[in-house]
Symmetry: D2
Subunit: 360 residues, 4 copies
């Protein structure tokens, strides 16, 4: 084994940073997003005739994260209190073209945050919808498979496993739709938020009504939607963990893992890990909502308190979705075991499955 | 002064339970909502021919909160672990008609929660939109009033007070729109969530796709939207508190209060109280999101952990909106003082005011 | 049934405000604590010769909550933004003696908060220690009763039910010790926190080093300790809920309740309710910790955001402890059922039980 | 500039991971702590005669993080759901000596968590106490410097800047004492928590009464204490930010930074960054407290949800302390400006400064 090349690597990554999100929210991804802002700004200003096309090209050519050292930018962030300053400084060291013209560092930071989010939502929504699709397949396949309904963890009346899976599906679908609908605006307000965004940044982000340096409703909405997605994933994962209990044994993850001490054990590792990720979301949402109360035209600390929680919230929600998808896609269902505890008519449950699948 | 008639009255009500929301989420309001469920259920079942119209009438006639003692119902909630059981028992003591037929206590509780929410949102949105309207008026009146932009609480570049107010308005409007759009479904799933809602409850609530006893996405969305509304109110309130500082003195609440020790002081009581309310929201949102991870067909504790936080979240968000509205509606603006610190062109800011007002 | 006498009564009280804490944190209890401050202040000032003994007596005679209407004080709180102002005003209306001399409203509010806490901790700690004692009895009685150890909810290796109960006991004991050790100071700093507490208030509260109007470490510590207590109660409750599952059936609450729709069901109502209460704690702790960041000599909103969360946190932690105690005191253990799943040596587990009981 | 060697580096490090804590909680630090457990276990078992001294030596020789790739261990964590499994596997690939004998992966993980914490607390407490010492110096130097007391951000009565600084000092000292007093136990319970810790692990951690795989009181206490420390740091930072306002201008950070757009600005970067870090703590504490409610002998997700929040909480609290220390150590005080607003006797305030300094 080779020696680790960086002390910042994560010993938990395999559990807590699963799926494609981690790469989209990495230090490098943030750096690229910051550079993308500078590049888009220059191009927009060239189009508006405020700088020359050559200058814009020159700036854009420098906006490749591979040219920079993330750790160096990270260290440089200490100077003005955010990494955008370090990025601008690095660019200016290489060109005389008017980098970052008229903009403020928060323009770069907020736009980067939305770009990072937009890019992270691709794998996140992919896994969330993948999990929903796997749940839909289970719902269809087990439309009529009786299972005992459990309320307060006591046997109640029969339902079908299909209806249980349909519930997971509806929860995941709704969460994905909600998340997909959150508007992600770019930021371009200048030092005091008075810049009229005459030019639209070409970044596939929404154009805001006003500069939103201290109007953080979109981030609050996004946080809420991510929290709901994590909750929807956690709900399904909890059911799987409970159904996997030794005494219940109605489902089994094909990929389930062993333990360091008891190799014979078959733990529902995917569902457990999904829960481990999902449970981290509510506290992060609270931090982001608390951060909405910002001062005047630039938050003094509240703004800074958003960066890591947003990054973490995307990571844990994405990881939860990815683990849940794996769990659902590899779930072995013991219909006989289910049936053995559920005696009674389940026609209404089956009809609800049809209703839910039909509404998709 | 007369002796207090109840030990449960609230010494903080004037500060933390302001505006019309408190009455809509009171013990009595919850009781009425629980009764409204039973009444609507009976009527729907009469329409479906499952019980007679006479029976439904008889049940409906009993569904008036004035007939019951809230404290008694509250105490009775201990028996099965929720107040719906106590309500059903009280009804059954008075009639042989088939009360609560086919339903489970969570059907009553969840429907009541949504009814309470729907009713509480009326004054809450009224105050939120009232605050937005007051901000809009300030935006219009002070479209061109220069004020220094402050970033990290340092003087930056001039903007206009109108743009600051327009920002508050946009934040409040967006939050109100978001909150208004959250779907509030009734619940009717029966003991194991398998009841096909063949009959629609006539309660001006949405019809759910599936019973959602343990699919809490709507509550999570609602929580997020309330958190955003509280945050939007808190942002404006913080700006007002900061502008009211003795050293800044650019605005002044006409209703501002004194102190027990320094009667000459003029505190921005409304804005301070709005902040005091708004800051309670994020923790409550976190509790509601964490509660999404529920067991099988009925949450064992997670469900129970929603009732009070939802009630509190509606209360503090409504109170924040009410206080902010008062603050904004009584705000005295010292344009001269503002102008004295802001030197420079503010044309772009004024255009942004137009843009924001135009987009309303 | 009689009509409810107050709209502020709580339909959830039986579940979410159980045990003796609710009465100690009620509106009336807060009012009495506010009055106790004024009375203690007058007596201390009489002893210091600053007012006459007669004046102190006159003030003290008025400091009985039964003389006032909680709701009226609550409404009056709106005037200066806290109820202490309304209390002082009500006192001054009845006497010319120097009420509230040299003090500020936060002196009264903070001292009242600590008095309310001190009084609420009596039943809270009583129930927490009662629950620990019940767990200790189970630990002793089932020192050698084999039960399968469950990791990630899968069967692992045998342990004893006594060790499981000993774990609950240790968690509860530690939490109670920690909570008991938190210092609860009175407050007496005057308008700007410069009052030298020359006279000690005779209120069985600790004397602070400095006025702590905006130094909220004690409240933060208290919040953390309450959160830990709620967590310790929740851990035991979750185990009981899991052991009570229909498929597991190794314990059973004697008091367990039915349901509105399935009277035959035997739900672990006490443990479920304990969980429902405990799960509300973390969000409230977060609010109280966030409120530590206060402005200068008096928090502008942060302070106000403490009152309700502190009240709620005491309530839910006390209720969780009370419910858990009931659950543990009425727990029926099916040792045969436990034994049937646990095969192997459990001597080490039994020794750990001795160790834990011995360390008590 | 060279290309970044790792995509996991952090673009925010300079702001959000300041001071010595980051290195102590890095992936490499966690890996070393996991190895330290395995090494200490082997040595303890050699001493107990269960394995040979040679075997222990052989194992210990392998327990150097430099021999392994953090990212590889991180990826391997996915297999059983935690990195301890990957570490054990890597060790076993190199030796036939009995690695990890009798232990369970959570023994390694929990012990590592406490080791990481213990090591991170060194720089964290160093900076917290350094900040307190800087505050003490300010308290002494400005014992008599009048400053207007501000309540609800309005001028109230004079106090001294020394008393304000003494308040910061007391808050920081108390928080450091509290944090220092939290016991940090090792873990050694084996697969079902029944292992009698006959041998003490030589790791300068506390010996627990019982295995605490699902008794998370210590982690809850630790979380609360870190939250209080962050709050104490945040309180001082907020005062500095407010005193630095352009209109107030009573203090100034010597190291304050500029902006990308307005180089003339002098932002209180250290205090703002301290706030940005401190505000992330409450949500993380809530996550850790919520995670206390764990299942049976091993939490199914709750346990996993602790790792990152604990790491983050140490990081943000340490960073807040480090920034605050810098801010306080470089604070320029404009006594004239303070004096110009504060007219009146401040003798009592000065005496309180003496009292606070005397109690140190």
């Amino acid at each position: 084994m080779k020696r680790s090349s960086s002390s910042s690597e994560d010993v938990f990554a395999g559990v807590l940073a699963r799926g494609g999100v981690a790469e989209q929210v990495s230090g490098r991804a943030w750096l690229q997003a910051l550079l993308d802002f500078e590049s888009a700004l220059a191009r927009a200003q060239a189009q508006a005739g405020e700088i020359t096309a050559e200058q814009a090209d020159e700036i854009a050519a420098l906006c490749d994260a591979d040219r920079y050292d993330v750790a160096e930018i990270g260290a440089g962030a200490a100077v003005i209190g955010n990494p955008a300053g370090a990025v601008v400084k690095a660019l200016k060291a290489q060109t005389d073209a008017p980098v970052h013209k008229d903009a403020t560092s928060q323009d770069a930071m907020d736009t980067a945050a939305m770009l990072v989010t937009k890019r992270a939502l691709v794998p996140l929504l992919h896994d969330l919808r993948g999990a929903a699709a796997a749940a839909a397949q289970l719902a269809e396949a087990h439309r009529d498979t009786p299972i005992i309904g459990r309320t307060l963890l006591q046997h109640a009346q029969p339902t079908t496993f299909g209806l249980k899976a349909a519930g997971w599906m509806v929860g995941l679908d709704d969460a994905a739709d909600h998340l997909h609908s959150v508007r992600l605006p770019y930021q371009l307000g200048g030092p005091a938020g008075t810049l009229n965004p005459a030019y639209k940044l070409d970044l596939s982000l929404d154009r805001p009504v006003l500069p939103w340096h201290t109007l953080r409703g979109r981030i609050g909405e996004l946080a809420g939607a991510l929290g709901v997605a994590a909750g929807a994933a956690g709900k399904a994962a909890l059911d799987i963990v409970l159904l996997s209990q030794s005494e219940v044994a109605e489902v089994r993850e094909r990929v389930g893992g062993g333990s360091t001490s008891m190799p014979h054990k078959h733990n529902p590792v995917a569902a457990v890990s999904a829960l481990g990720c999902a449970k981290q979301a509510p506290g992060l949402v609270a931090t982001l909502l608390a951060a909405m109360i910002q001062e005047h035209e630039r938050g003094a600390g509240s703004w800074h308190s958003e960066w890591r929680p947003l990054t973490e919230l995307l990571t844990v929600t994405g990881s939860a979705a990815s683990w849940l998808r794996t769990s659902l896609e590899t779930l072995e269902v013991d219909a006989e075991q289910m049936r053995s505890r559920a005696d009674g008519d389940t026609g209404a449950a089956a009809q609800l499955v049809d209703r839910a699948l039909g509404a998709r």
